[in-house]
């Protein structure tokens, strides 16, 4: 169904992706990614890639595994622990001015922008039907449909294809769950938030991963 990201520069792509991820994330998570990619390259990926290749779906799933793991670790063990539990330092939107920690959503976005500077082989973003920043509301039909779908069934990612700016993309949307009190406290209290009734465990939005195909 989806075009395979299996071209002449595939090996380089994987190397770039691995360097990106290994450089920024914990070794254990990288090992997990390696296992997923190796499985994919062997033709046994969840997305049904052809032998010797890896499907966009398997690549998106692997990327999301790392992204979600890091996001959870930062929210729980950095922000929630230091701000809400041990009250050592706060996390705030204007963290440079306030000399505080970046918010988890900012941490996510900064990582996404840095990755985008280094490769155009994938993009990822954090979106929501109830965004604090209106620019993070769904813009494309695929984003809107995906956010609805993962809110209805968080266990199932939403997959599809779309054409943006003349380029075809495999697009995957994954549920983004409020993993700590820090998440819901901040969103419920923010004057720009469209909701003030989030609870831990609620779906607050979705992670959208795009991989150019074709």
């Amino acid at each position: 169904m989806y075009g395979n990201v299996r071209d002449s520069s595939a090996a380089v792509d994987w190397a770039v992706m691995m360097m990106l991820l290994v450089g920024r994330h914990r070794l254990a998570t990288a090992v997990l990614l390696v296992s997923v990619l190796v499985a994919g390259c062997g033709g046994g990926s969840a997305g049904g890639g052809e032998p010797g290749g890896i499907s966009p779906q398997a690549m998106a799933d692997a990327l999301h595994t790392v992204i979600e793991a890091d996001r959870t670790v930062y929210a729980r063990h950095v922000v929630n622990r230091l701000q809400d539990q041990e009250q050592v330092i706060e996390a705030s939107e204007h963290w440079q001015d306030d000399r505080t920690l970046p918010l988890p959503a900012q941490m996510f976005r900064m990582g996404a922008e840095l990755a985008a500077e280094r490769t155009d082989r994938f993009r990822y973003a954090l979106l929501s039907k109830w965004p604090v920043n209106a620019q993070n509301a769904p813009k494309t039909e695929m984003e809107a449909a995906g956010l609805v779908a993962v809110a209805a069934d968080p266990s199932q990612p939403f997959y599809g294809t779309e054409s943006l700016g003349g380029v075809d993309y495999f697009t995957a949307v994954y549920a983004d769950v409020a993993v700590a009190e820090a998440c819901v406290n901040c969103h419920n209290a923010h004057p720009d938030s469209a909701r003030d009734d989030f609870a831990v465990g609620d779906i607050m939005g979705g992670v959208v991963i795009r991989i150019p195909v074709g």
């Binding site: 204007h94 922008e113 985008a116 993009r123 973003a125 813009k139 984003e143 700016g165 003349g166």
Partner: protein
């Protein structure tokens, strides 16, 4: 016969003209203004003869050229619209309407007929394509025209460090107060790698004649920080065994003072030198300058006396020796000038006086050599792009945020060098506070 001669003349003239144009185009030392499709902006006209500073040969303007000069300040400004924000396929439809990732989308050069403040060449309602529904979320914005977002004193496209909502709320209480404040003390930092040296006296002056016989010069140096630090005549005038030079130039200063030349070369005073052109002169300026200053050229020594090493004359006298516009001419009778006079006389505490340099060459916190220090930004234009940049490090030292924002949005008050109160009121603080009630 007659027409043959005409054709020959026409042909020779064409070849000659083409040859001259080709030679001029290829020669970086030639006056290539003939190729300009229109005048450059105030920010770039100084380097109009250095086409390669911005253009790729037979190509367009290089984005890297823009970023080579402006990337650092955009990063320091926490750029509200950094290109990286938009570099996601989900923005493809917006970028098709206006590709804000390229500087030249909004800042097209050589188009004086459409160039507005800050070198913007888009219509004033350029925010509309992405923010036209802002009033849906912010009732305070209902009825506001989209051409007032960036022109009304509320928002800037890049630098909103003194204008963002939480900042306004946190510091927006009160009225148009002015209080007794002071700028932080400067911290001189030099990259001096010659180790500790014993102080020098006039007897140690190693200048050749006739400089050696200039007692005023020698005495000024002997009483300076340079002599106290063991920096002798030869260290600047004859560095590393070179021949003696009466005018050592910027490189001699930069050997120890790394930060200051960096800012100087990035600003309008030094950007010609940075582009490989001869030094900036008041004769090249578009602002009104004193007639007797037209032959001067700008280097460190234009404002600073390297022998006396007293920076106070550079803070006002150095500026007014050349600048003769309305704002500069009004300084002498301004409230700021009175505070400066009190500081110079010892009546006011250090840092309480407001000189030209207080605002235009501001003392800023910067991480230098592993420590945060207060250093002087020598790019005298950086604080004016836009002028709200000076709110945090300068204005708020003595004025309320409300007064600072209103004053900087009042061109007439700026021309009077802030004599009086602003006639304009920017509603941004009122709007921000109303959302929190």
């Amino acid at each position: 016969m007659h027409s043959t001669l005409l054709r020959l003349v026409w042909g020779l003239a064409t070849v000659g003209l083409a040859g001259w144009l080709a030679f001029t185009l290829a020669n970086p030392d030639a006056d290539r203004r003939v190729f300009q499709p229109g005048a450059l902006t105030d920010g770039h006209h100084q380097i109009e003869l250095a086409c390669e500073s911005c253009h790729a040969p037979f190509g367009g303007v290089r984005q890297e050229a823009c970023l080579g000069c402006h990337a650092a300040e955009l990063e320091a400004a926490l750029d509200s619209h950094a290109a990286s924000i938009f570099d996601d396929p989900r923005n493809a439809a917006d970028l098709a309407r206006i590709d804000v990732r390229a500087c030249i989308t909004c800042h097209t050069e050589h188009r004086p007929e459409i160039t507005a403040v800050m070198g913007v060449t888009l219509p004033a309602d350029f925010c509309a394509p992405c923010h036209e529904t802002v009033a849906d979320d912010r009732p305070t914005h209902r009825g506001l025209s989209m051409d007032t977002c960036a022109s009304g004193g509320c928002h800037n496209y890049h630098d909103n460090r003194a204008l963002y909502e939480d900042f306004l709320v946190e510091r927006g209480d009160g009225g148009l107060e002015t209080f007794a404040g002071a700028l932080p003390p400067r911290e001189t930092w030099v990259s001096w790698d010659a180790g500790e040296r014993a102080p020098l006296t006039a007897a140690d002056a190693d200048a050749p004649a006739p400089a050696a016989g200039d007692r005023a010069l020698i005495d000024a140096w002997a009483g300076s920080a340079h002599a106290a630090a063991g920096v002798g005549c030869g260290d600047c005038h004859r560095p590393e065994g070179t021949a003696w030079s009466d005018d050592p130039g910027l490189s001699a200063c930069a050997a120890c003072h790394e930060l200051e030349p960096e800012g100087f070369l990035a600003g309008r005073h030094g950007m010609r030198l940075a582009a490989g052109l001869e030094a900036m002169s008041p004769a090249h300026a578009r602002l009104p300058m004193r007639a007797d200053a037209r032959s001067r050229t700008l280097g460190c020594g234009t404002c600073h006396d390297a022998h006396a090493v007293d920076v106070r004359p550079a803070a006002v006298d150095g500026c007014l020796a050349c600048h003769d516009d309305e704002h500069s001419a009004a300084y002498a009778d301004s409230p700021h000038a009175r505070t400066w006079a009190r500081e110079l006389s010892g009546e006011g505490p250090p840092g309480s006086g407001v000189s030209c340099a207080s605002c235009h060459l501001p003392r800023e916190p910067r991480r230098v050599a592993g420590a945060e220090r207060i250093v002087v930004e020598h790019n005298q234009n950086a604080n004016l792009r836009p002028n709200e940049k000076m709110i945090r490090d300068v204005c708020l030292r003595c004025h309320s945020l409300r007064l600072s924002i209103d004053a900087l949005a009042d061109p007439a008050l700026i021309r009077r060098n802030f004599a009086g109160l602003p006639a304009r009121h920017v509603a941004s603080i009122d709007m921000a506070l109303s959302r929190r009630e």
